[in-house]
């Protein structure tokens, strides 16, 4: 299996799907000539031409609307947001149109569109460029929301998203583009809505997604050395949530910590807690604990930027808390 960077895995998925289906096209700022702000679309302009790799002006609402219209008439657009922070300008198209077209047309219209781009904090970009907005989109019925952590998942989920007949919102970790991992070649499609047990364990379940998965791994390794066996469940899809996988893991370990980059209030993690407490209450040996970003705007200063986000020490402390271990 080839070892690819996260961005290369996405590139591969895009290329393969565009080859497979002539209706697929990519639109966004700097996706063509500049080869992508984060180089996800590198080489695609040469391969597919400017009719399918479309450089859009700085006009998120406009080109997102174009994508939604194209999807309505049978094409399968992939709309790249330079970052999800800018997609807030296009919320009306995503939320009011894409998410609701099927419902409002009584099922007559489909909207097979993917909105994708980087999210999350890192690199001292301060508050307007450092938001983990997954829960915002996960809130809306009509949208599917995915957030892969590994290159393999990035490829498999993007392929599934492009093939889905519904609008899919894909969060890519801005800090994940350069990480490497083995990626299956060719037809590698991961069904939407399926979580993945990334690490088997028996004492506690860490439930997470996207970049936070790596902090969980770091924490799990250290906890393992202290004799604590940690299971890591990577949700991968945030809407629909894989309730079955969440409950199965919690029933196995009886304890859960949810690690989420975004803010605590109304976060996806809060929904996961609700699933656990309402459906696996009798399997809990301790209250579920959440590790989230702090409830503040992201700082510019690097030390504060780190302090605001979850990290391995915070996760370790949370695990010890649910295990009633000392030092928590």
């Amino acid at each position: 299996m080839a070892e690819l960077m996260y961005r290369e895995a996405l590139n591969q998925a895009l290329a393969e799907e565009m080859e497979r289906d002539a209706n697929v096209f990519l639109i966004g700022e700097e996706v063509g000539r500049y080869q992508g702000a984060f180089k996800v679309s590198q080489g695609l302009l040469d391969k597919f031409g400017s009719a399918r790799i479309i450089d859009a002006p700085i006009s998120e609402l406009g080109f997102t609307g174009l994508g939604v219209g194209a999807a309505m008439v049978g094409l399968r657009p992939v709309v790249e947001m330079m970052t999800w922070n800018f997609a807030i300008l296009a919320m009306d198209q995503i939320v009011n149109n894409a998410a609701k077209l099927r419902h409002m047309s009584g099922g007559q219209l489909r909207c097979p569109i993917v909105f994708r781009g980087p999210g999350g904090a890192g690199g001292r970009l301060s508050s307007q460029h450092s938001q983990a907005l997954e829960s915002t989109y996960a809130h809306f019925p009509g949208l599917k929301v995915i957030a892969p952590a590994t290159p393999a998942d990035a490829k498999g989920l993007l392929k599934a998203a492009i093939r889905d007949d519904n609008p899919v919102v894909m969060f890519e970790g801005e800090r994940l583009y350069a990480i490497k991992g083995e990626v299956p070649e060719g037809e590698h499609v991961i069904p939407l809505g399926k979580a993945d047990v990334k690490r088997e364990g028996k004492d506690v379940t860490l439930i997470t997604w996207s970049r936070m998965y790596y902090f969980c791994e770091e924490a799990a390794k250290q906890l393992e050395s202290e004799g604590i066996s940690v299971e890591i469940l990577d949700l991968r899809t945030l809407r629909p949530l894989d309730e079955e996988a969440i409950l199965a893991s919690v029933r196995k370990t009886n304890r859960a910590v949810i690690v989420e980059e975004g803010w605590p209030l109304a976060g996806v993690g809060a929904q996961v807690v609700d699933i656990i407490q309402s459906k696996a209450f009798d399997d809990l040996d301790a209250p579920v604990v959440r590790v989230t970003g702090l409830d503040v705007n992201m700082s510019y200063a690097a030390n504060l930027e780190n302090a605001i986000q979850p990290d391995a020490p915070k996760i370790i402390a949370a695990v010890k808390k649910v295990l009633y271990r000392e030092g928590a």
């Binding site: 009886n254 209450f281 009798d282 399997d283 809990l284 040996d285 301790a286 009633y324």
Partner: protein, 535 residues
């Protein structure tokens, strides 16, 4: 007609507010939106605004006094009107004025939005005014309606007693703050309501009944302290589940509870290793191994003891007073680090005083002498006359001694103020009066709050010595045992003396052992040489 101005909720956590300053005086004209008083909340000092035009007829809460949110603090009305509002007939005669008067309640739902727990006051034009459960003692969080003195449809005048309420301390009367007709009783006799929750609705002008919407809300806020027989019967099987221990709430994780149920383990016999003693899976699992043995051992005895089955225990709802006692004791015992000092006191001389008092037909008990001596010792050791209040230590100016009085369903500690300055007969008379009224639950809050130290005497039950739990927020308590003949050694000779053991429980956060020891030494000296009580 006069309408009440209520203490508004000025912060999300505000439960009561103190009137710092009245910006208007009785008789002053007040316009809607005008600040009428300055109020200290739990957060800051803010101004209270009037929601209506009128004349400030009467100030109900004086400067420096507290009022719970929703409680009337003043009466607003028209010029020349009495605070006690015109008679009901008059209201009926002047229907035109009604909509205008109804405007005041209209503004009030605003306040209620901020604080849904408080009484919804008047919920709309003329629908009715909520009568809220008042706060009648500093520790009162809820009250039980013992008896309604008025029935639905009765006319009520402001200031009239409408119900008798059992608080955690005593039975008191709830007064109406407005005239009108008692439209609907929400909390029935025997039921409990939280402070601030509506217990009844007073019909607005013309006796209109409150809206049905309020009807469905109100009962939800009050909870029944005395479940109906039917409910008790259905809940009875639950009692089998060991959900609580005599010492308090049993903490069990849901998983541990499930495993224990499956395995038939008695949770109350399992020691929890989680936070606050929570029983978790590992505790149940380790207990599981021992279970079969225990079950095997207990079976024969159970079979022998019971030809029939054991009758279901009678479940009696906890009284309000007992609930508060249990809460406070559960808080103070683990929360306040106690230390204990005991001393034997020879009481021969003190008993002689009692005899002499009898001779002059003055009834002085041993306890009265102890109260006096403990107060004088406190005066001499002011480091004992303290209490911890957050980050500060309160040093009391006066010496106020509490006396623990056992009453039917609990105990209460009325206070003898300035006990160091009072003579024995005064203490004796006061103690008897307080104890008697305590048993009738007729004490006023001021009579049982704010003591320096409590004297708890179980001597009359023949208890030699015991250790008492501090009565918070006080910092010390004296546990007094019985006076009994004991052999003591004096100058190498065995002699018989009347000996009494006194044990001091001290709050070690504010009192140290040496201070406590000095205090006890002084107390002993005073009791053994009661002549000193005169100096």
């Amino acid at each position: 007609m006069a309408t009440p101005i209520q203490m508004p909720s000025l912060s999300p956590t505000m439960k009561e507010g103190k009137i710092v300053k009245w910006l208007k005086k009785e008789g002053d004209k007040v316009s809607s939106g005008e600040a009428i008083a300055e109020c200290e909340t739990d957060k800051s000092n803010l101004e209270i605004e009037a929601y209506d035009d009128g004349i400030l007829l009467k100030i109900l809460v004086a400067e420096g006094e507290m009022a719970t949110v929703g409680a009337p603090i003043a009466m607003l009305g028209e010029k020349g009107e009495k605070a006690e509002a015109p008679k009901a007939e008059k209201k009926a005669e002047t229907p035109k004025a009604e909509p205008k008067k109804a405007e005041a309640p209209k503004a009030e739902p605003k306040k209620d939005e901020k604080k849904p727990e408080s009484a919804p006051a008047a919920s709309g034009g003329g629908e009715g005014i909520a009568i809220a459960m008042p706060s009648m003692s500093p520790t009162m969080t809820e009250g039980k309606i013992v008896k309604w003195l008025k029935k639905e449809g009765d006319k009520i005048s402001s200031g009239e007693a409408i119900a008798e309420v059992e608080t955690d301390k005593s039975n008191l009367e709830v007064e109406a703050y407005d005239d009108g007709v008692l439209a609907r009783i929400v909390v029935k006799e025997g039921e409990t309501a939280k402070v601030g929750a509506p217990i009844a609705y007073l019909a607005g002008k013309g006796g209109a009944k409150p809206a049905p919407a309020a009807e469905s809300k109100a009962p939800a806020e009050s909870k029944s302290a005395a479940p109906k027989p039917a409910a008790a019967a259905t809940e009875a099987p639950k009692a089998k589940e060991p959900v609580s221990t005599p010492g308090g709430r049993l903490r069990v994780s849901p998983l541990a509870r499930r495993i224990a149920q499956e395995k038939g383990l008695d949770l109350s016999r399992i020691q929890g290793s989680g936070p606050l003693g929570r029983i978790v899976k590992r505790d149940v699992e380790s207990a599981r191994a021992e279970a079969p043995k225990a079950a095997a051992a207990s079976k024969p005895t159970a079979a022998a003891a019971a030809p029939g089955t054991r009758p279901e225990p009678k479940s009696v709802p906890v009284s309000t007073m007992r609930k508060v006692i249990s809460q406070r004791m559960a808080e103070v015992k683990p929360g306040v680090p106690h230390f204990y000092l005991s001393v034997d006191v020879e009481m021969d001389a003190a008993l002689k005083i009692r005899e002499e008092a009898k001779a002059v037909e003055s009834k002085v008990s041993v306890n009265d002498i102890i109260v006096k001596a403990s107060a004088m010792a406190l005066r001499r050791y002011p480091k004992m006359n303290v209490a911890l209040n957050g980050d500060a230590i309160l040093h009391f100016e006066s010496v106020d001694v509490g006396i623990a009085v056992a009453i039917e369903d609990g105990l209460i500690t009325p206070i003898i103020r300035d006990a160091d300055k009072k003579g024995l007969s005064a203490i004796s008379a006061e103690a008897r009066d307080l104890a008697e009224r305590a048993r009738k639950r007729a004490l006023k809050p001021a009579e049982y709050t704010g003591g320096s130290l409590t004297v708890s005497n179980l001597g009359m039950y023949g208890i030699d010595s015991f250790i008492a739990v501090i009565n918070p927020p006080q910092a010390a308590i004296l546990a007094v045992g019985s006076v009994a003949d004991k052999v003591v050694v004096r100058d190498g000779q065995m002699v018989i003396r009347k000996v009494m053991t006194v044990t001091l429980s001290g709050d070690h956060r504010v009192i140290d052992g040496a201070i406590g020891a000095e205090y006890l030494r002084e107390l002993r000296a005073l009791l053994e040489h009661p002549m000193r009580l005169l100096f």
